[in-house]
């Protein structure tokens, strides 16, 4: 049976589409029939396997100034061609271009269910934003490495279209997407740590298997000015939940949080709560939930007018084994509600 030729739509910025340089970075999205610019290299790499039926071009500034808008405009353009797959870029070190490629690929995958692949250098800002959602082929810094980049992008996108198993970043050339898996190696952990230590003492080279994280800093929010008038909310990642865990917050690797009404309670009652966090012994907290979420003393402070008001709900999730993405998602959702409610400050209690 003859394999159907894959229909490919390609996304380019104004520069690679030969429309112009920075001065044309504001051009609106438009379609060019067939391949153009690097699209020809893509067509070459595809050979008989596929056809670049259309190229969508958008100016880097037009896109970056309103990403959502640009994506909304481009999606119908892609849809019209009913492609089997989408290829964006490669963007190399072009930051705005990389972000555009990532955003388009993510949207095409999520909204149109069409596999999409892009390519860029590991330091392109698009990587941080999209590597979890999109296959990003790792490229060199400039278009000097175009052919290699195109070849890998095409290979990967064909694999996905044909339902072939993706082996992994090292083999297929894409930037790791942050999914942690275990693999069997040829040596036990004890053998490996011993050898690593020996190399270190003998001043031979060694390479750590584990890296240390670099955490970003957040500009501190302005302090509360009038605490006697402030509304303060309690948040915890110790996994305190109403009995029965009605929202099904996970005991490890939480993807959601709960908000639970305090109503007029002067303290949290033992019989009403449970702990879903699996990373610590919760006996003492279950005996007295105020040991994790200090409602009792907050009520006293409220009564004595040392704070304006305790927010009538507390927020709870599990803080063990959470992925960065989920932690951020949860944090942002809580933050947005708190901001909407005009919260002046938060006390976060962790185990």
């Amino acid at each position: 049976m003859e394999l159907r030729r894959l229909r490919v739509v390609h996304y380019l910025n104004q520069f690679f589409a030969r429309i112009g340089g920075e001065e044309k970075a504001n051009v609106e999205p438009r379609v060019i029939e067939g391949p153009t610019g690097p699209g020809r290299a893509i067509q070459n790499a595809l050979g008989e396997r596929g056809e670049v039926i259309a190229t969508i071009v958008c100016g880097d500034n037009y896109f970056s100034e309103n990403v959502e808008n640009a994506v909304d405009e481009i999606i119908p353009l892609v849809y019209r061609y009913q492609p089997d797959v989408m290829i964006a870029g490669p963007a190399f070190l072009g930051g705005r271009y990389g972000v555009a490629c990532g955003a388009i690929c993510k949207a095409v995958k999520e909204r149109l269910n069409i596999p999409a692949v892009t390519g860029m250098h590991a330091e392109n800002p698009g990587v941080n934003l999209f590597h979890r959602d999109v296959y990003i082929i790792q490229t060199g810094p400039s278009a000097a490495t175009m052919n290699e980049a195109v070849s890998k992008m095409v290979q990967l996108v064909v694999k996905i279209a044909e339902g072939e198993k993706i082996v992994g970043p090292a083999h297929d050339g894409y930037i790791p997407r942050g999914i942690v898996v275990n693999e069997m190696t040829g040596q036990t952990g004890a053998e490996r740590v011993f050898e690593m230590l020996l190399a270190k003492i003998q001043e031979r080279s060694y390479e750590s298997e584990v890296l240390q994280p670099k955490h970003d800093r957040v500009v501190p929010a302005a302090p509360v000015r009038l605490i006697e008038q402030a509304m303060v909310a309690l948040v915890t990642d110790g996994g305190l939940v109403p009995k029965g865990n009605p929202d099904g917050i996970e005991s490890v690797g939480a993807t959601r949080f709960g908000e639970y009404s305090l109503q007029e309670e002067v303290a949290l009652k033992e019989e009403a709560f449970d702990v879903c966090h699996a990373g610590y012994d919760s006996t003492f907290v279950k005996q007295d939930p105020n040991r994790l979420v200090p409602v009792d003393v907050m009520r006293i402070l409220e009564r004595e007018k040392r704070i304006g008001k305790l927010y009538n709900k507390f927020f709870s999730t599990t803080g063990v084994g959470t992925t960065v993405e989920d932690a951020r998602k949860i944090g942002r959702a809580i933050a947005s509600e708190l901001r909407a409610e005009g919260m002046s400050g938060v006390i976060l209690t962790s185990t």
Binding site: R217, V224, I227, A327, G331, L348
Partner: protein
């Protein structure tokens, strides 16, 4: 993580955490020492009334933190 996201929205967060170096490394800006992992704002070895007082001290420190200007991760 949670502290930083809430802080990003412009709301100051007093992070009570038993292993404060962790909170500092991750980047919470206002960090207050909790008691122990198994009871962050409690102490079951104290009689209940005394324990509540003890809890009050920690929360009061958290309030001080909320009212303080900081430049970066700070232990209170």
């Amino acid at each position: 993580m949670l502290a930083k996201e809430i802080e990003r929205a412009g709301i100051p967060v007093a992070h009570v955490c038993p292993l404060t170096p962790i909170a500092i490394v991750v980047g919470s800006n206002r960090v207050i020492a909790g008691v122990k992992i198994i009871h962050p704002v409690g102490n079951p070895e104290l009689p209940p009334a005394v324990e509540k007082e003890f809890r009050m001290r920690i929360v009061e420190k958290a309030l001080v933190a909320l009212q303080s200007k900081v430049e970066g991760p700070t232990l209170f």
